[in-house]
């Protein structure tokens, strides 16, 4: 027996479908289930590594921003209510396999008196441009599209869809710490 002719090939597919559960059908199902199992196994093993980094929750922890109530006249007194300080904090961030790097994040520190502080993200909520603090008009201004925020972070003019984003903050032993960024509600 050597090559298979076309006639022989065709004769095989006339296998009547009426037949209940033939040897052929059992083999087809066995092959199909085996293939599906292998595909599922590869999927179960392969999908987590692809998806996982996207779901990772970046917890940067707390970073010291400054000491409150120092006696040094050169340093801004943070215990005075209404003081607005454009400043920045540095924290070490790790980007996957790259060596850890220090990243400087500009913020606006608004003092509410005593231990009350608001830390605004210094980026416009419109398209992310850096904001500047105008001490004369007591407003945060965006150079890109003319957005204006008041010192409570509320939008008073321009295109931003929501107030300024805030960082979590806490005071421990007279030191102000900055935590995670919380996006404001529009």
């Amino acid at each position: 027996m050597s090559e298979v002719t076309d006639e022989q090939r065709d004769s095989t597919q006339v296998a009547p479908q009426e037949a209940r559960f033939t040897r052929r059908r059992m083999l087809v199902w066995t092959a199909g289930v085996s293939a599906a199992t292998v595909a599922a196994a590869l999927g179960v093993i392969g999908l987590p590594p692809v998806i996982a980094p996207a779901l990772r929750n970046d917890n940067a922890g707390w970073t010291a921003l400054g000491r409150i109530g120092g006696s040094d006249p050169e340093v801004v007194d943070l215990s005075v209510a209404g003081t607005v300080v454009p400043t920045s904090f540095i924290r070490t961030v790790t980007d996957a396999y790259l060596p850890p790097q220090e990243q400087e994040t500009p913020v606006f520190l608004v003092c509410g008196g005593g231990d009350q502080f608001t830390i605004f993200d210094a980026r416009c909520t419109h398209l992310g441009c850096p904001l500047s603090w105008s001490s004369t008009s007591r407003e945060f201004l965006c150079a890109c599209h003319g957005a204006v925020y008041n010192e409570r972070g509320e939008v008073t003019d321009g295109p931003p869809p929501r107030p300024l984003d805030r960082y979590e903050s806490k005071v421990e032993d007279g030191v102000l710490y900055v935590g995670r960024l919380r996006e404001s509600e529009s």
Binding site: M1, D10, R24, L42, I45, G46, P49, Y97, L98
Partner: protein, 226 residues
């Protein structure tokens, strides 16, 4: 194909009927899937299929590795280490890729021995033997290029040894070695060209070879054992 049979069929069968109605796939598909085999087929005939299975596993895991691997001396080692330590199931995927590669070399050699012992390479199947041998060389090239990519001491020195072997070939040896290294020293360019060969050139070549290999088996049928 008759409407009578379609009624009462499951959703899967009805979906297939809908496709068949538009593209007429049932007959060609049935011709492929219901191909009769000659007598005397044994489990030894499965080595080729098993080799192909390892290739599928290697392709899938390889694509996942490509999401994270960086073919640069600065980051190659770190990206591989990060996969092993910080990526969920990362080390599993990497080791699946490694062990499937080992298995592929073993299985493809078993396949070759089987074909040789059965003398299945004889006329009219000489061309398929030639394509098969070319693919065997590609599989070994896959192994050689992939071995360098983790960029650790073992990878570096094993590749160094391999390239020095090529270097000892009379007359053309030094030229081959320089071509493999991309210059006089094993370095950044070597890593990058091994990577390009491993993920672009060799897969393209192997897939092309597989198409011819399988098409010829279908055309000529499986050789009956001696």
């Amino acid at each position: 194909m008759s409407p009578a049979r379609r009624s009462g069929a499951g959703p899967l069968a009805r979906g297939f009927d809908a496709i068949d109605e538009r593209l007429e796939v049932r007959r060609p598909l049935s011709r492929i899937l219901n191909k009769p085999l000659p007598e005397g087929i044994t489990w030894y005939h499965c080595f080729g299929g098993m080799t192909f299975f390892t290739f599928v596993v290697l392709a899938v895991t390889g694509v996942i590795l490509a999401f994270y691997y960086v073919p640069s001396p600065d980051h190659a080692r770190a990206s591989v280490a990060w996969m092993d330590s910080s990526l969920p199931l990362g080390s599993v995927v990497r080791n699946l890729h490694r062990w499937s590669a080992y298995a592929m070399v073993v299985l493809v050699l078993c396949h070759m021995v089987r074909v040789f012992v059965h003398a299945a390479y004889r006329k009219p199947r000489e061309l398929n033997w030639v394509v098969g041998v070319l693919m065997l060389l590609m599989v070994l090239a896959f192994g050689f290029t992939g071995y360098l990519l983790p960029w650790d001491q073992k990878a570096y020195w094993a590749t160094n040894v391999g390239i020095n072997m090529a270097d000892s070939v009379p007359l053309v040896g030094p030229l081959i070695a320089d071509l493999l290294r991309g210059g006089p020293e094993l370095g950044a360019l070597t890593l990058l060209r091994f990577y390009a060969a491993h993920v672009f050139v060799l897969p393209a070549g192997l897939i092309l070879g597989l198409i011819f290999h399988f098409a010829m088996v279908r055309r000529q049928g499986i050789a009956t054992p001696l």
